[in-house]
Structure formats: C-alpha cells, structure tokens
Amino acid sequence: MNLTTRSERLTGRIFLIALVVVTLLPFLSMLSAALQPRGTVPTGLAWPTDPQWGNFADAFTAANMGALLKSSALIVAGVVPVGVLIATMAGFGLGHLRVPGGHLAFGLLLLGLTLPFEAVVTPLYYQMRDLGLLNTRWAIVLPLIGLYMPFAVFWMRAHFINVPRELSEAARVDGSNTWQLFWRVHVPLARPAIASLTILLFLWTWNQFLLAIVLVDDATKRTMAGALGAFQGQWGTDLVLLCAGSLLILTPTLIVFLIFQRQFIKALLQGSVKG
C-alpha cells in the first residue's frame, strides 16, 4: 500500500470523487426541475426560490402511481418466486444429482445466456396473441421466467456443484428421500446464492421495458419501466411534471436498494458474470 505515492493516490481519490459527482448530477438536475413551478421553463440546475413539493403529488395522480405499484408488484410476484424455485431445482438436478445427459440440457441453456431479448420478442408477440394473453400481465410474466432460466440455472448449478456429495450420503442413510434432502439440507445451504438470484431477478423484472411495451398496451398492467415509458409519451412536453413523475417512479427501487444495499451490490457484482 505505502508503495503507491501520495500524489498518485490523491489523483485516484479526485477521480473517484469526480465520478461520484457525475453520477449524481442527472438526478440532482431532475430534482431541481421537478421543484419549479408548473408551466415554467426550468434550466439545468437551479435551486428554485419557492420549491413546489406539490408537483410530486400531482405527478402521483397523473402517473396513477397506486395502480403502477400494484401492477409491478404483481408481475414480480409472478416471476421471481417461480423463477427462483424452478432454477434452484434445476441447478440441484444438474449440479448435485448429476442427471445422466445433464450436460446436454446445460449446453442448451447456455445457448440462451447471451441472447438479446429482441431476438425472440416478435414470435413471443404472436405466441401470446394465440394464447389470448396479450395485454395481460401473464404476457410479461411467463416469457420472463423462461428468459431468465439460462442465467438462473447457470447460477444455481455453480453453487450446487461445489456442495460435497457426502452431505447427501449422510442424509440418505437417515432414510430421507430426495425431496426431503433438497428442502432440509440443500436449500438452507444455498441461501446466499438464492438471495442473490432473488435480488437480480427482482431488479431485472421491475426494470424490464421491451417486453412490457410490446406485449402490453395498458400502462397500468406493465412493469415500472414500461409505465415510465408511457408516462414520458404522455407528459413529455411538461418537463416539470415529467421529472417529478420519473423521480417518483424511481423511488420504490431506490428505497429497496438502500435497504438491501449490501446484498444488492454483492449480487450485481457476482451477477455480472452473466454471459
């Protein structure tokens, strides 16, 4: 450590602080615009003489925030528990039980790891139309579960492959079957991996945009990101309200992020191995 010269480390610190400032500026600029009186033309960054906190209340009504929160929560509730459960089971099967021919299934899943969603969104549209699910939340929930499988199974398998097999042997001697073995021994052990996966799937679902705008017309049945897109389309000319609404729509994610900060950052760092 002491090998780095003082000036070098100082330069590093300055860079880091600059980075922090640049990261925050767009948010501050939005906040300053959101607090201007309605109907005025705001400038980049200027603290208003008379901050209009009421704009947020207006935006809450205009964006129909109550309905949006409910919709996003429903979609997350549909995607995340099921996605995490079936991925954990598959990871267990492929990583621990080592099913015969499992590497074929795994290879097939790996194919999807770098797949851009744009590559499948057109057929998904027709598939959902034929199933009569277009414009329902199912149209977002079902494909997302499938699209997350490559990463999620990859993730859980990486955990299970490192679990010593003696563990299962011991439980077998006790006479428990595979199902009990899974729930009593392996799921508790996999908790950190499951927690990270849960956080990532939550985040990716909440922020999913493409599927939301293609498969669901009604903004109140979309994810938060999809709803934000619609909000911009509707209020794009009213900059004050747009900024207030955008900040408002961001708040739930930010609150969750700040509460689970540590786990989030860990999950995101680990999760970036995706691809």
Binding site: L3, R9, L16, L19, V20, V22, L24, L25, P26, M30, V41, P42, G44, I86, A90, G93, L97, R98, V99, P100, G102, L109, G112, T114, L115, P116, E118, A119, V120, T122, P123, L124, Y125, Y126, P143, G146, R157, I161, E169, R172, N207, L210, V214, A225, L228, G229, L239, L242, L254, L258, R262, F264, I265, K266, L269, Q270, S272, V273, K274, G275
Partner: protein
C-alpha cells in the same frame, strides 16, 4: 465483502470444469447406491425449468429463424423468401448504418468505461472500508439499479437546450457550442453513447477495483525494485492480473451496447434521421410498425450472431487459461 464478491467470478468457471471431471472419478461409488432409477428421476428436477425455457425461448428462437426466411406482414399469407431478407440486411445502406451505429456505441458503452475504470482502479487500488467507501460504492451503483428508461429521461433533460450541459457551457463562456445535443445530426449518437458510459462506468470501476484489491502487493514491490515506473507497472502487473475482470466488464457492456434499446427508444427514438437507430429499435419498428416481420427476424438473427461473435472470443481470451 470484497473477498466474497471477488472470488465469485471465478466460481462458476472453475465449477464448470470440475463438474466435467468429477463425473468420472469420485462419483462412482455413490452411483451404485443411488441406483439408476434415482438418477433418471433426477430429470424431474430439471424439467420445469427446461419446459419454461423451451416454450418461451427455444420455440420463439426457432420461429425467428423460420420467419426470417419468409416475407410476411404478420396478418396475411407468408411468402417464401429464402435468404433474401439476409441479403437485404447485408446490402441495404440504412440497415448497414444501423448495425454500424451499434458498433460505435461499443466505444462508449465498453471501451471508455473500461479504460476510465482501469485508470481509477490502478490509482485507488482499494476503496477505503468504512462509511466513505460504502457511500462511493452505493452511488456508483445507482445507474445499475434504476431502469434504463429513467436514465434516458434524465439525460434527455441534461442534454436538452436548457439542460445542465448547455448551462455549464454558458457559464464558462462557450455559448457558441451550446446545442440540442440529442437532436443534432453530428452529436446525437455520441450523446446517446455518453448515457451508456454513465450507466456502465460505475459497475466497471467497482468490478476493477475489487479485482485490484486481490492482487498480491509483493508483485508491485518486485516491479518497483526492478525499477518499473507507473506505466510499466501497469502493463506488467495490473493489466495481466485483471484479465478476468476486464473480460467480465467487456462482455457485459458489449452485450448492452449491441442489444441496446431502452435508452435509444426514450432519448431519441432513433433520430434525427437514422443517426441513432440501433438494431434493437429497428427490429421493433420493422416488426410492429412497418409489418415486415421477415426482415425484422433476419435482423434479429444477425444481431444474435453478432453478439456471439463479439463475446465468445473475449470469454476464450480472458478465461481460458486461468
């Protein structure tokens, strides 16, 4: 925290290899006791995930390839096209421009964040633990947590006529340079790129600093004793040691650049002209506004292949030998 998160990028990789090897040797004795039936019923564990994947990813994927060989407006009868749609993708001037736009975005989404991240990482070496370090980490991760749509809206405002960028330029007397950055022909694509830089920079920096803190300090000691300056030190010690982290950064950001959609859709809708249109946006437009499903699908297949062609060599280079 650092050690836990740092060790993981290596995890799946090593796990992958040991997994292959293990099936042969140490598993044998257990296999008999578990019995063949148990091993086959193991497929029941994998099946739910595979079914969801097959129905909502593999089937659409096969259909995309199939659509790409037809002329189809999405409603009427489809007409066989063979490879005509692909020929269009590779010869049409507009489509080629759109594809090249995605590659230009790689400079902003990948190269700049990785280079800046490396610079900061090699200077800082490790973020101080304690509240200051936590704050820095938290702030730098904000762009990763918010939807890209929100990043697009925020930056549309920052780049607008009355926005922050122009305000700053006026403040230092550069009134002549001010403009609607996202609206003008020459600046629109770089401006979109800057949004991508903003989103990716924090993640890359933290990943690289995390990797940096794992490098054995004695390596630097040895380099300094050998009389290496900061530059030599960087190329001799830092760069090789961070190979894996750089690989991860490049992979994630290149996929984000090539498959970009949200940011462009929100900030410019691809304009002015086709200046900022990217393949993702064009697929969406062709398929859902212009009703050229065949051409959209061909472009989708090309995009998918381009991502693989860019990402696989990086994986091989940065992971293979470690």
């Amino acid at each position: 925290m650092t050690s836990a998160s740092g060790s993981v990028p290596a995890g799946p990789d090593t796990a992958f290899r040991s997994g292959r090897g293990d099936t042969r040797s140490p598993v044998r004795p257990h296999r008999k006791r578990w019995g063949r039936t148990v091993r086959w019923t193991g497929w029941l564990w994998v099946l739910p995930a595979l079914i969801m994947y097959a129905v909502f990813v593999l089937r659409p994927l096969v259909l995309t390839v199939q659509y790409s060989m037809y002329h189809w407006n999405g409603i009427g009868a489809a007409r066989w096209a063979g490879l005509e749609n692909y020929l269009t993708v590779f010869t049409d001037r507009d489509l080629l421009k759109i594809i090249s736009n995605a590659f230009i975005l790689i400079i902003f989404f990948s190269f700049i964040p990785v280079i800046l991240g490396l610079l900061v990482a090699s200077l800082v070496r490790r973020i101080t633990t304690g509240p200051a370090g936590t704050m820095v980490r938290t702030v730098l991760f904000l762009p990763q947590v918010i939807p890209l749509v929100a990043a697009g809206i925020a930056w549309s405002w920052v780049f607008s006529t009355n926005g922050l960028v122009n305000q700053a330029l006026r403040a230092v007397g550069l009134d002549g340079v001010t403009r609607a950055w996202l609206g003008e022909f020459d600046t629109a694509l770089p401006a979109v790129g800057v949004i991508g830089t903003w989103v990716m920079l924090g993640l890359c920096t933290i990943l690289l600093i995390t990797g940096m803190s794992k490098i054995d300090p004695s390596l630097y000691e040895a380099a300094r004793i050998d009389g290496a300056g900061p530059v030599r030190e960087f190329f001799a010690v830092t760069l090789p040691s961070l190979r894996q982290e750089i690989g991860i950064c490049l992979t994630v950001t290149i996929i984000a650049a090539l498959a970009s959609f949200d940011i462009v859709y929100i900030s410019t809708s691809g304009g002015p002209g086709l200046q900022t249109t990217v393949p993702g946006l064009e697929i969406y437009r062709l398929a859902f506004s212009q009703r050229q499903v065949g051409l959209a699908s061909a472009l989708a297949v090309v995009l998918m292949v381009l991502v693989l062609v860019c990402v696989l060599p990086i994986q091989r280079l940065t992971r293979g030998e470690k």
